[in-house]
């Protein structure tokens, strides 16, 4: 069986990292970093997701085909989001949706 068995140690290490990152995400959200709040939240979420995908879901040890499949999924979602926003962000700003969103007022 050409199967790679990931060790329990790695699982616990990744688990620890996920816990730490969860606390970080919560802690950062308590402070106002303006626009960076979203960026940091997303960065942390993406990092956690990548750890789960690579180690819990074994993609690190999987075939190239599996890796292509995973990346394609997220890439296609990116197509949906980016081209749709290419409409909204170039509309004239109105009271509804339209225009480049103003930077979040910091309060």
């Amino acid at each position: 069986m050409s199967e790679h068995i990931v060790s329990k140690t790695i699982y616990f290490l990744i688990f620890g990292a996920l816990m730490v990152l969860t606390v970080v995400t919560y802690w950062v959200a308590l402070y106002d970093f303006g626009r960076m709040n979203v960026v940091i939240a997303l960065a942390v979420a993406v990092t956690k997701a990548v750890l789960v995908v690579l180690f819990f879901m074994h993609v690190r040890y999987s075939t190239r085909l599996t890796k292509i499949v995973v990346i394609s999924g997220f890439f296609w979602l990116a197509i949906l989001v980016s081209l749709t926003l290419s409409d909204y962000f170039t509309r004239p700003a109105t009271s509804g949706v339209g225009g480049v969103p103003a930077s979040k007022s910091t309060r």
């Binding site: 069986m1 050409s2 199967e3 068995i5 990931v6 060790s7 329990k8 699982y11 616990f12 688990f15 996920l18 816990m19 969860t22 995400t25 919560y26 959200a29 308590l30 402070y31 106002d32 709040n37 939240a41 997303l42 942390v44 979420a45 956690k48 997701a49 789960v52 995908v53 180690f55 819990f56 879901m57 074994h58 999987s62 085909l65 599996t66 499949v69 995973v70 394609s72 999924g73 997220f74 296609w76 979602l77 949906l80 989001v81 749709t84 926003l85 909204y88 009271s95 509804g96 949706v97 339209g98 969103p101 979040k104 007022s105 309060r107």
Partner: protein, 269 residues
Amino acid sequence: MAEAVHTTTGHPASAHAALQHHFENMEQQREAGTLGMWIFLVTEIMFFGGMFMAYILYRAYNADAFAAASNALNVKMGFANTIVLICSSLTMALAVYYSQVGKRMMIVVMLILTMILGTAFLVVKAFEYYDKYEKNEIPGRLFPSRPFKWGESGHGSPAQEPGRDATTERNPQAVQTGQEQKPDPNFASRVEMFFFIYFAMTGLHALHMVIGLGMLIVLTIMAWKGRFSPEYHSPVELGGLYWHFVDIVWIFLFPLLYLLGAHGVGGGH
């Protein structure tokens, strides 16, 4: 004709009991199953993705209303649920590990732990939903006796949130102008939008959790009956992939839904 190792009419007696008739060998079967599950997960990415698209769009244009609405969610419960799900991912991964090394009882233990944690998640979610029901924060007229209300008897009134300035929460402009203003009707409607997205996304996620629990029950029974071995444990692996995916969705939902306004509209905690 020389004795064929196998023909199209059937596998030899030495074939694994779990080998299906249309596959040549276990390796091919395992490869097909894994690829199939990954493609299914890609469809799930696109399925949830449609809702993420709506969230991204409306968050961009209603940042303040979304932040205020996000404040109405119970961050502690969301945080607890996140921890619970990550723990369940660990136990699921360990279940896969034990199936790879063939420790039957440990597989069962880990699967049961995963189920307990998953159920705990859903119980917390049920409490959250009920709380929203009581506070009239279920959007629209799903329950005609409790139409959506914001800023009056629901969130935004001082009795609900001790220590928070309900005035500023309801109307951010009040902070700048320094005076109480009439609640902006558009603001409440955008808050309702947030709640619609909240219920749609967490509801869909919870549905996937329920399906995952069903799958786990089946896997636990199979494991208990000793169906898995180092040579054959695909169902546990593939079940694990599904479970981790559902965890990943929550990893994104938690910050995007619960932590938007955690730093408060009127200043930090």
